[in-house]
Subunit: 253 residues, 6 copies
């Protein structure tokens, strides 16, 4: 099976790191193809960027000629998963939700350690809408921006681990979720400090994509995620109209 | 004062209808300028279109040279309000929330009558995130698409009123909210049938924009709606890069 | 239009301060008439006093010959709004709720800074019943009684601002609501300290009264706020039976 | 021990019926004294009347010279219990809450069958504030007014039982609570029809009053129910100022 | 009337302490018979032990030849009450819930002070399922194990009182619940330190058992607590098959 | 890897059916070993049986000499998962939760179709405690007992499918979960009727066990699921004391 793992920002080095983590998690026989959007922000930190990213991710997936068996949206706390679910017939897994699902199997509560404080409300909102906030003990910010995280992994581990320890002690978290796609690979170091299981969303999403595909399950199309209705849509897909698509090939729909 | 009222779809006739309702609601001295996005769907029905619309609305507002005192986002149950709040220093009012706020002042519960069944979950989600779902007795679909609504107002009144009556009797709604920007102007006819106050979101939003402006209040910038951080954003604003902006003039930020 | 602004206690100087704030908030053409109950406590701090005040406010409004277009109940966290809504055909706005409604338009969360700790549960209860507690980050007490607030505004600003700062930092509030009718006029000083928008309930209520009246909307009479049923009521209105009404004139109903 | 059972309306026959049910429930050694307020409505149906009743009940209890060991407020879904708790050092039991507490010990869910539809929101609100709504399957109206109930008990049983049966079958209620002080004595007939335990609030409250007294427990005075602060209160107690108290004797505080 | 009070562990000294507290709380005419399970853990601290205890308690009650009028399950936060309710026709009262019910009549909020931190989630879960968590301000651990509690009551009072004081000050608890069957008898000492009412669950449960019995009420058998269906059950009752029952006498069913 | 799949009842034919479904779901390289408890009920329908089953499942797993990599508890809505998590170092997956987790990845809401009406509250309670009830549209009963299900699969499909269709239409479920371990294998037939994805809990649990094992994750031991404390436990493990264990071999701990 083939899983598309889509970064939500345009920073290629981050796409590569996410791809590496996805491949590490993948079962034998699972092929990972990592995609970077054609437009949008170099990192996603806030609602304006998150909405833009949501559209860029949909655009990027539509540009892919297929076939593939599942899509992982590798942005933590970002918008857009529901849009992809409407567009595609294969399962779509958001890493925020994937991490929360697995965390809830391992402990009674979990905490998310994310980047900047401004990301906290977005993550809480995404977990609320997914029906997964009830067992979330806290969402904590490490104070590091997404790009700082990418550039200084040692400091990142330190700041994230500190918040993880506080989540365990003060908020009674029993599992830690790494709250940024760019934190992939830091699990073991944080686990060593916090003393509880640590989950990376990309890895979790790959396993859940394999699980659904293995059971022959895909998105319900009966209501919320029914395909878009036929209608005039000006300048869509945007990447094609912007001349950013490698060639004007149609996506899976 | 001047209020920008932004339609969420690209159908100009709908922008005009919304503008007319906004002007009717406006106090003397309030100027209404209605905008249509440069790209996106002819009507917004579903998440894919809603995310695209969110970006198109931000793009359209950025294209406006200003000055203006408040922005009304005239799409019911659509994404994007948080993004505009980050981008702007003036108040931003979503008509979904505006209608709910006023409804809660008039009755213990309210119901929303919207277009298609697939819009119901989106509206519930937006009200959930806004903290306004608790007093919502139900969100009901009339079964009419946004464009049917535009083309056959008589049938629209009939279908909407029928659901309004059922909301009052079966769901114990005490106020009815018209759940689509394109339903503006149907209030009186629905009220006559349902026997309870009926609220149009655009009208409500204009009054709330006037209220906030009159009190010198605007969006809190301390956390969730802080301005986007400076960074590389490829092809943004999209409309400018697509050559859809009338001239490459900068918006208010 | 004319708005009755009813103080909930019998302290005339507080009625005047509230009236001044209301007039400052009012649009041109909005006349403010401020009323003081004929009986009840000099300040309302606790449930016994709040229930008595609820009845005294209804009594005072009934004593008014009218006409008027809306009523603002200017007590923060007090009982009684539902009773007025049953008695009157014009909109009734409680300042607790008015402030919360506007706060939710400006930030993702808000905190209320009130007087004594014992007022906190009452305010939480009122927000709960109004369906507005979900986005309330905290209700904090300044430790000042209502009358101390009236007598020492400088100390009041200092204590309120301190709690506002803690609400923003510790509770992640993005907007501050002044949680006592007698705090009217302190907004700017608190805003300067806390760095977020600050809302006075009386001002908010006046704007919402103007909004509803401007849209021709009033209380739904279909269920919860239907008029009282005809029946024997001993000694009602109390103020008339106590000889406190200036003359035994009938109110609007 | 002596328990004051206070009717919330001024209808003496209803006070008598409540007293009879209370005496039937009382353990040997428990004396019941039933009180009728000196002013207020002949029946309490709606918020205006409920607020007036809350004050009349406080007034009536204050007029009692004491001593007594507990107070039962015998109005279903009415305001005022918190006020009494502030005024008194002995336990105060509201029959709405008493019935819900016992119901939750007998079944996983309970439903309340009350009088008019307009009483439903008030009962829901009181249960919400008491933290007891979670296991409430429904609050249903029989369509009978309080006074009709008093005058035609046979029809009352029939209408109440019909709603009880529907609550059990449709709402999955496992226990029925009689939602009006005036329904005391109908338990056995409703139980025979509905096939589940049926609880009268007055009886429940008497037993809970005995329980608390037997354990030497009374209201916590540390915060919410602290005594009113000393201050000027105009015309309070109202009944004394109205000349309705039999003699101007002071109550227990 | 006769109440069976069943300890959840096999430590006879703890059964005696619970029995003493139950007898102290009982009304004249209420006979208390205390039972110790035939198998299971010496103290119940965690889910494995709690599930085993639930079965051992059911087994122990089945071994009793009867008659009796009510059963009190004297383990705080333990599983099993629902099973007993299915097996018996008389009321079954869990001390966790009993304490919470009475606490909610005395204050707006309550806190539970229990033994070890690992007991906290179980207690929260039991209160959640009983619909009683809403007014619970906190569940706090004293850090003492059940057996330490039994062996060093002086230290127990000190640790429990310290947490009670913090619950009142930090969590705004207005009532304290002793969160372990083995804390019976410490109420007065904790109350003296914390300044709020203190409730022991066993005492509360005895009074509620008396209340229900006095009103002729027992468990609803219509759905959740219907008797077990006839079927093959291997090795049940376990105590009989283990040869632990004093004689192979049948229980009440 | 090896997964133990533990039936919750003593009916061997049901263990076989569950094992078959588990093997069908398992990835190459995953070995399934199915276990039947040594004691307990032939089917689990109600709390008494569920508690007994919880203990029997723990007992049965302890009797297994190991090694194994994960345990699946194959009872829908039953107690016990937390106990196993305390006892074991490998992941423990309950099929109720597993099915809900996967369902939430496929649709905005899901409904559970179970056996008898009396099972509904238990399932709701388990989903509540797992933090998974929020997106559950309904739990519906087919009216078939567990053993009828086993004996008449054709009728089972019909009754289950009928409730599934009603869940989709009336409750707006977008995914159906088969709410009994014994329904394994009916997915495709129910899906054909209901038109939405259908999930069997055992299959879901096997994939989640593989996912967790593949990522090297296991239960957090820091608080709720810490190992039982050393202490005297009379007659434990029960099966060994009953002489039901094949030989008195020690389990993994």
């Amino acid at each position: 099976m083939k899983v598309l793992v889509v970064n939500v920002n345009t920073t290629a080095s981050m796409t590569e790191a996410i791809a590496a983590r996805a491949r590490q998690a993948a079962a034998p026989g699972t092929e990972i193809e990592a995609l970077t959007p054609y437009f949008g922000p170099a990192s996603v930190e806030g609602n304006t960027e998150s909405y833009l990213s949501a559209v860029a991710v949909m655009d990027r997936v539509l540009a892919h000629p297929g076939p593939y068996d599942a899509v992982v949206q590798a942005g933590f706390g970002e918008h857009g998963r529901e849009g992809l679910q409407e567009l595609l017939d294969v399962p779509v897994i958001d890493i925020t939700e994937a991490a929360a699902h697995l965390a809830m199997l391992l402990g009674r509560t979990y905490s998310v350690i994310t980047t900047l404080d401004r990301a906290v409300p977005q993550i809480e909102d995404r977990l609320t809408l997914a029906g997964l906030l009830g067992r979330c003990a806290s969402v904590r910010a490490s104070g590091l921006s997404v790009l700082e995280l990418d550039h200084d992994p040692d400091r990142a581990v330190q700041e994230i681990a500190e918040q993880a320890v506080r989540a365990v002690h003060d908020d009674k978290a029993e599992v830690i979720v790494l709250g940024c796609g760019g934190m992939a690979g830091l699990e073991e170091k944080v686990r060593a400090r916090a003393g509880v299981p640590v989950i990376d969303g990309t890895a979790a999403a790959v396993k859940l994509a394999e699980s659904l595909t293995g059971l022959g399950l895909s998105t319900s199309k009966i209501r919320t995620y029914a395909p878009p209705r036929p209608k005039d849509v000006t300048a869509w897909p945007l990447g094609a109209h912007l001349g950013l698509w490698p060639q004007r090939e149609a996506g899976p729909r």
